[in-house]
Symmetry: C3
């Protein structure tokens, strides 16, 4: 177990320290599970009342929350504008201290083509294949069983977990993380139909991924048909996501698990997609659009905001009733029109009465 | 082809045998495809009329169905309260007889770290990586290309098919089955947002899986952020499922293919989820809840029962009509309110007439 | 860069050549990005006006479009009835010219069982496992890290990308393409329930796949419970698709990414499924049915046509209103009935007035 003085954490991550700078910390934990060797954080003002029960040695919080809780917390405080961001950075600080170092070098059970270029400081694990003319940058970690195709390029400090595929000619930038089972650069789904049979359209574009991108387990990103599929800097993709060929995903957009994006969709920057949201192909979504989980985007979205479209859950018996009516809404509308007409005619009759 | 005497099957699986105990059986098959060397089963009373056409040598059924079919079936009978359960157990019996045995030992093309502990009776296939301090129990079968991370633990009698990932420090119990391509213990999807950019929250929890759990092909279960993701005993997960970080899934809950569960969802015991059902994060589902396929669970469910929420399928032209109305239901409701008002005012007028 | 004379392309792919047969072509590109060494195509008459701006040396189009654009394009023309199909075939022609040849043979880092049969012209990459009695046909390419189970069979000219699993006894035909991470033949999801616990039903059927089938990255196709799961000739499956046990998918049916098909569904020929469409188990879909993206097929479809069922997307605030009403449609219907009754009674009263 590594221990850090509070002052060293604050020196590294920032914030204003109030209290004993020499407290020894083993890590960071939520209010309710923190022990006496932890620093904790108050990011949600609703949890203020829990502060008096935490056993943590130190607390990250805003100046205003610090004033509110007054003497409820006897330990040290770190004052910051954004406690949740501070929590993330402090957690990174502790994780880095606890990290098991990986020795550079090519494992004797790896298979590296003669023309591949591997940086000296990179680690290539057992059963990794690196094909001709592939390039792997400084400090990369390529774990067991991964596949780096012919001419593919990986920027420095990028980490591939076990069993990742990066196919021929595709490239990914610096400081990316790709989780186990992800497949980058499989063929896009492109066919011409000739009298019922599908004629394959060769997928000759690449996948081009920026820096600081994270790609989840078993996520797939298809190569372009002729042009490239592009994922800009800072994009975060969760697990089991499918990105179709020739998509363009703007910087810092994040997608939760099971999202699907059909081919040639152009998605802006700073967007978020809830789990299992789906996007049809050949449409445009501007910056700062937020799609709720389980929602189908079937046309372009040209105005920022939150969009939703899923059928509300109900007890099965109630759903069965509502679903039947949904299927017959056109007849319900017709009835309403008839009622309006009938009422109008009665009104007229009434008015015409002497 | 292995053959079993009926009496040996009944001795192993149970039930009351009526008829010739020495019939030789090669396996179990449905009523319509069984041949003279098969035992078959009647689990659905609606299929009683098919009994007279089956060629099977023996029949598993309830006492009541046995009385109903009277002389329609000339072969041997096995009487049981639960013929479908009996079918499953008999099928296991025959599958076990037909199983190609796996010789214990570590394949010469595996890569096993010096500090890993592998039980003598376990099989480790080619191109399997077992990292430092991992532990693999008695009679485990770890097939080709699987990855067992640092400090991960696998209980006895557990079977990993080819190309499974179990990441560092995660653990799985006894008698589990994990299918090809599954990824257990990838990072959960956790970020803090700092002025539009995503700051990664290290995922330092584990995945902890009980006994008798089955995990489908290409299913992903993320490790916890700080605490663990927990899958209790007897849970059955089909293919392509995504379980987010810090979820807790109660014992004997089953999920069909393509289900997604967002982070920190707490799901009870004995629940079932139809294919592609989705569960939002940070909510609670009590025991014995059944979610229909394609339904989105967007709030906690605190009462057992069946819940559904998907848009009913229709011919496209009809759907287009109903979808337009669904988007404008608020205006339909408004029209109805106006009609009600108008009618009321007419009623008043009418009553006021002399 | 390979260059081809236009006449050689036309000789191989067909069509009527108008103009200089000796133009040298490096490849095919869309109207707007084609350069002077490209052939391009006009498959959508709406794009006719772009023809005058393209820099391409040659143009594929219909006779009627050729007449329409008159002198707008000065280069060579290839006249065909189906320019998009011609584009696909021409792209294949160029891709084949540019293909990096794969030398036949078994890589020294592969693991091939003694009883496996590998055609001389096949390529088996590093870290591929081929188990006992498996068969791999002529000109097959089996890339790094793939797993071919005991007794599995692969027809000639089939290409497995890196890290594919084909499990024991399953078979796939000729000229198929299977993308990275696909799993063919994992156990179907079959259990009997005994007092809350799930008893596994051994999955002893196979997956049997025809010729000219393409299977996307991380797609999973489960083996049958007792009978087989069948995928007929020419089926095209995109990424992240789940096909349950004992499904039967008819020839030339295509499914886009993230589709899920539950067990024992019988799907006809020439069907198409949009992304994330879901099909419940034990139902029948006839030939020439087209399911829109995000739609749930919850009952058999016995009539060809296009079917749809997803909740229309709206701004979140609007969706919240419509979703509340959808949940209470039964009460809305009740109000309409009351209005109809009230109106009728007023009508009667009115008629009864002297």
């Amino acid at each position: 177990m590594h221990h850090t003085r509070l002052k060293d954490l604050v020196e590294s991550v920032g914030g204003r320290l109030e209290g004993d700078p020499d407290i020894l910390l083993s890590g960071i934990a939520p209010l309710e599970s923190a022990t006496a060797s932890h620093i904790t954080f108050l990011s949600n003002p609703k949890l203020r009342s829990q502060v008096k029960h935490t056993k943590a040695a130190a607390l990250i919080l805003t100046a205003s929350d610090s004033a509110s809780i007054a003497g409820d917390f006897p330990g040290a405080r770190v004052i910051t504008d954004a406690p949740y961001v501070y929590f993330a950075k402090a957690a990174q600080y502790f994780a880095e201290k606890a990290r098991v170092p990986v020795a550079p070098g090519i494992h004797s059970d790896a298979n590296v083509a003669a023309t591949a270029k591997i940086a000296r400081s990179a680690y290539i694990g057992p059963f990794v294949s690196v094909e001709e003319e592939a390039e792997i940058g400084e400090n990369c970690i390529i774990e067991a069983g991964s596949f780096i195709g012919r001419g593919a390029k990986i920027g420095s400090n990028t980490h591939f977990h076990a069993r990742v595929s990066l196919l021929a000619l595709c490239q990914i930038g610096e400081s990316c993380i790709v989780h186990s089972g992800a497949v980058i650069g499989a063929d896009g789904f492109g066919f011409a139909n000739e009298k019922g049979k599908w004629i394959k359209i060769p997928q000759t574009g690449r996948v081009v991924i920026g820096n600081d991108v994270e790609i989840g387990a078993n996520t797939t990103i298809d190569r372009g048909a002729m042009a490239d599929t592009v994922i800009e800097d800072g994009v975060k993709l969760d697990n089991q996501i499918q990105i179709g060929h020739n998509c363009h995903i703007g910087a810092h957009t994040a997608m939760a698990g099971c999202v699907g994006v059909a081919g040639s969709a152009k998605i802006g920057k700073y967007c978020t997609f809830g789990g299992a949201a789906m996007v049809l192909g050949h449409l445009t979504i501007v910056d700062n659009v937020h799609i709720s989980s389980g929602s189908m985007v079937s046309r372009s979205i040209l105005e920022p905001g939150q969009y939703t479209g899923f059928y509300p859950l109900a007890k099965n018996a109630e759903w069965e009733k509502s679903a039947v009516i949904v299927r017959n809404l056109a007849s319900m509308r017709e009835k309403i029109r008839e009622l309006e007409k009938a009422l109008k005619s009665i009104g007229h009759d009434k008015n015409e009465q002497p």
